[in-house]
Subunit: 442 residues, 3 copies
Amino acid sequence: MIERALCEALLERLFPINRSLTGPGVRQTLEVLSEVVGLTLHEVPSGTVCYDWTVPPEWSIRDGWIRSEGGDTIVSYRESNLHVVGYSVPVSGYFSYDDLVPHLHTLPARPEAIPYRTSYYRRDWGFCLSHSAFLRLDPQATYQVLIDSTLDPSGSLTMADAHLKGSTGREYILSTYCCHPSLANDNLSGLICSVLLFRRLAALPAVQHSYRLIVVPETIGAIAYLYRFRDIMKQVDGGYVITTTAGPDRPGYKESYLGNHEVDVAARLALGDDHIPYSFAPSGSDERQFGSPGFRIPTGTITRSKYYEYQQYHTSEDDLSFISVDRLLQSLDTYWRAIGFLEANVTYFRREDHCEFQLGKYGLYPDVGGLLHQGFGDRTTVGTAWPVDFDQDQLTEAFAWLMHACDGDTSLLDIGQRSGLSPRLLAYAAEQMQMNELLDAT
Amino acid sequence: MIERALCEALLERLFPINRSLTGPGVRQTLEVLSEVVGLTLHEVPSGTVCYDWTVPPEWSIRDGWIRSEGGDTIVSYRESNLHVVGYSVPVSGYFSYDDLVPHLHTLPARPEAIPYRTSYYRRDWGFCLSHSAFLRLDPQATYQVLIDSTLDPSGSLTMADAHLKGSTGREYILSTYCCHPSLANDNLSGLICSVLLFRRLAALPAVQHSYRLIVVPETIGAIAYLYRFRDIMKQVDGGYVITTTAGPDRPGYKESYLGNHEVDVAARLALGDDHIPYSFAPSGSDERQFGSPGFRIPTGTITRSKYYEYQQYHTSEDDLSFISVDRLLQSLDTYWRAIGFLEANVTYFRREDHCEFQLGKYGLYPDVGGLLHQGFGDRTTVGTAWPVDFDQDQLTEAFAWLMHACDGDTSLLDIGQRSGLSPRLLAYAAEQMQMNELLDAT
Amino acid sequence: MIERALCEALLERLFPINRSLTGPGVRQTLEVLSEVVGLTLHEVPSGTVCYDWTVPPEWSIRDGWIRSEGGDTIVSYRESNLHVVGYSVPVSGYFSYDDLVPHLHTLPARPEAIPYRTSYYRRDWGFCLSHSAFLRLDPQATYQVLIDSTLDPSGSLTMADAHLKGSTGREYILSTYCCHPSLANDNLSGLICSVLLFRRLAALPAVQHSYRLIVVPETIGAIAYLYRFRDIMKQVDGGYVITTTAGPDRPGYKESYLGNHEVDVAARLALGDDHIPYSFAPSGSDERQFGSPGFRIPTGTITRSKYYEYQQYHTSEDDLSFISVDRLLQSLDTYWRAIGFLEANVTYFRREDHCEFQLGKYGLYPDVGGLLHQGFGDRTTVGTAWPVDFDQDQLTEAFAWLMHACDGDTSLLDIGQRSGLSPRLLAYAAEQMQMNELLDAT
């Protein structure tokens, strides 16, 4: 319940903020998120070269509008931060209709929606407005235009991260982006899902693997992060790029560039069969940077109404009414289950690898022969973060698979895929065997 | 006919014997089987440690019954050896109904069937009886109970094997288990099928590969055998665990843990498409030991009414009326065809590996060009143990595939899978080419 | 048009010539083809040993007929060169019906067709005639027979080739056979398609890869060519055996022995989904020699009415009316597209392999964010030999895939298969990136 309340509060506080690649809106957003998980902020000065890219000047905007000759406000930044093209340079003056039009962006196909547009790397200015408002403009008229913005070459780009240290050598990233203004599914839903997910992880007594939460502006932020932390990031094993988690469509999964990496297996187990599969493509979000040849970090994305796939995408109609807290929390639970399967993904070897163990000696086998494969035994539930429910037959089956497969090369996710057993049950069974000094983790 | 008569006689003589992990019933069974194939017996003393296991005391039983106060015999070992739980410790005395019940095993779902139960590794005693007989017991009555058994720590476990030496370095095991009392499909049918199969092999003038018949009590016997002959067994290439061969259901095949090993390919070729496929699982029989990481011997199982899959399994209803000699002999023929494909599975290389051979020079090709691929030529049958029937087109196709594929790495089973030709036809064609010094076996 | 006229002229001039393994008809054919592409001729003396084969004597024939007692000509070589069995030894004399019949070949199933038969390696003579003509022979009559032929042990077998040098180290063969007499689809159509294809290649300003046109008698010619040029041929990467390109059936593709080699991928892309797939088999044509273990050159075949698959195959009914110039030119275009995909099949690596490039800096990306994935941009066509038509979205997608996948190991055909993008579009995009010093070819 407290998580749901937190989710609702975050949506309300963060939606109105004008985020962009850089600027006060990003910092304000990260401050709010820092109340949920302990974030470390990193400032990257404008002008810093990161591989093929240069961090742009810091953008801030105070106001922006178009007014008619009569002084009526036609569009206003204060009404919707989508109205001003992201990274618009300052402008102030009077424009004829013909001179103004090249600076206007509309979506004729969705006439009431304000589109979301940016011009990060080409100095320009512009306004986005609904096509119906555009049609009401008078071609004979002159318009007064103001964009009160700053592009500060002495500014910086702000990144944030948090880290949890596990006991295995494996590390997974949970990455999201904080550069979109008042757009709910893409990507306020991803921001909130990410911090709530990391909050759950941080509340565990211990984690098997290490986890790194990364909150950055899309593309340039991910690139700057990879550049600054390149030695660390080259050691990362995989992860998820968390975005568009709360729209009305069925759950979906965009696979990593490997397609069958452990992050993919875990996500599909968490989702079950009934989800929309999306093949990998080097489009979308920061999987483009993480998966690039120099890093090759496989990342997947669990979504509800994936970017590109809904009509309201990148318009003012991707607002709080488009998403729901229920769906955001369902996506959170799905990610949580996926991480549970990654946590289960230990690789064991048998101390003595010839024949089966005599499990009865260790109290791991029913005493009377001939009972198995008849669904016997009460059902038991073990585990708190990721509970698993099983009967004695299934546990015995798990022991049998572990004895067969634990050769030091085959992980519990591998064994789960082969056997059809839950990796969480296998993990529980493996712990029982490890306590009896039958198995060891590699 | 003599094989059928032998099968019938073995069923009749062996069914009544009370077999268990150890004891006189096992030895008596192996003596009878020794009349069919020359078996070598190995005694493993009770108390011998084999990996994680210890060979249990030798169990023998002379009598066992429950009598009413009035002296009526309610269950009697002499009526069915299933009535006494296997490895029951001796007991003699009077028991109230309430004290007796924890020692009784019934199957409410099959009220007329006596279940089969054992307690090998926990000292206990018990009786198995039909649920309907159980319901007739008087909760107010006292019962006299006798189990006249011995658990001899100076006894031994008896194993048997036989070996045929082939000319290649490859060895296959044919393994079965002799520890089940009067149960027909599981596993008297497997015992008899195994020895008849090995008898056929032993009657051949020569075999390509080596074959090892292994007759042992399930689990502990297989483990003791693997332990004693571990150096030999680590060299074994694969094999079959022969069990449940004569029930009323369709033929089935449980694949080896590899799934596509030569023993699997051969078995599937022998069965044809119309059979029940069973995925590998580390349950069932001694594939659990053979396939364990320290040995990794892939074994499959060709069955009729596979263990676990029929209602009569491990009950008194798995009797001689449940099985049939016809089906047992059909399973025998299927195993025989499978072994025929393994025998065909030689790997050849070409002495001169550039271009095709001029087959006409060797009399291996029709003289007049333009005739091929029109189904010409009379049909011919070659081979006695595993006859193969083909026409000239198919033989020419076999030569062509051999010339293309014999690179020293590709076996005739591989070529058979690729080409769709029978490995037996390929073997015949390869022998023709070898006689002409075109091919050599690796 | 000039290509179509050339094709028509070649069909007309070459169809009547009596080709065989050796002899004047082969040389005459190669002379005509030399007018189209510059061929180098190689003579291999009769008696030359090539691996398991010996080049046969050179065969020439001047006349051949069967006459009735009344002097009527029943069959005549001058009427159809199929009438005389290829490589018939000379014969002159009178034969009873019974003595003549063993030398006669007919096709009862196609009573008006003259079959095509040869006896290259067994000294024999014979006539092929329609079954209806055969039935009109008089069993009581005597027939006069003449075959005026020569088998010259001092002759030679004639081979031809042409070579185009490319800039990569890869070489592909385009091979066809010139040993069939007046048979149109098999294989005059293949001969003409091959030289027209090579003529197109030779007209290009440059080629990426090297190409070798090989025109040889089937089997013994391919073997002699492989033998003489074995050092070169062992370096060849793949190719096509061009045959039966103009029959009435749907396009088909016989895959190489590898099945998924780049020549297979290119051919299937060129054909599209709607074609008849033929699995590899070591029958057919010279793929038997090229693919043999000593060479292992994967070759595929794009066909219309593949050999073996049509009733007129190897009969007088495989004449000019069976094929069409349109279909021959369609096959030529399909091969051309396949070669276009091979030409696109360069492997690139990124100079800087971390993260994406900032494509906007190089003019390779739209300026305003948020437009992608909406099918925007005008369609553009680039390329002359192999034009490709795309919009801005597709080009941007191509850049994204190149940035993701160009790791120095992944070819553009690989990327095309993964992404679904045309390898030609990828090649165009890669050239743009190479010009901007972002990519280099391996």
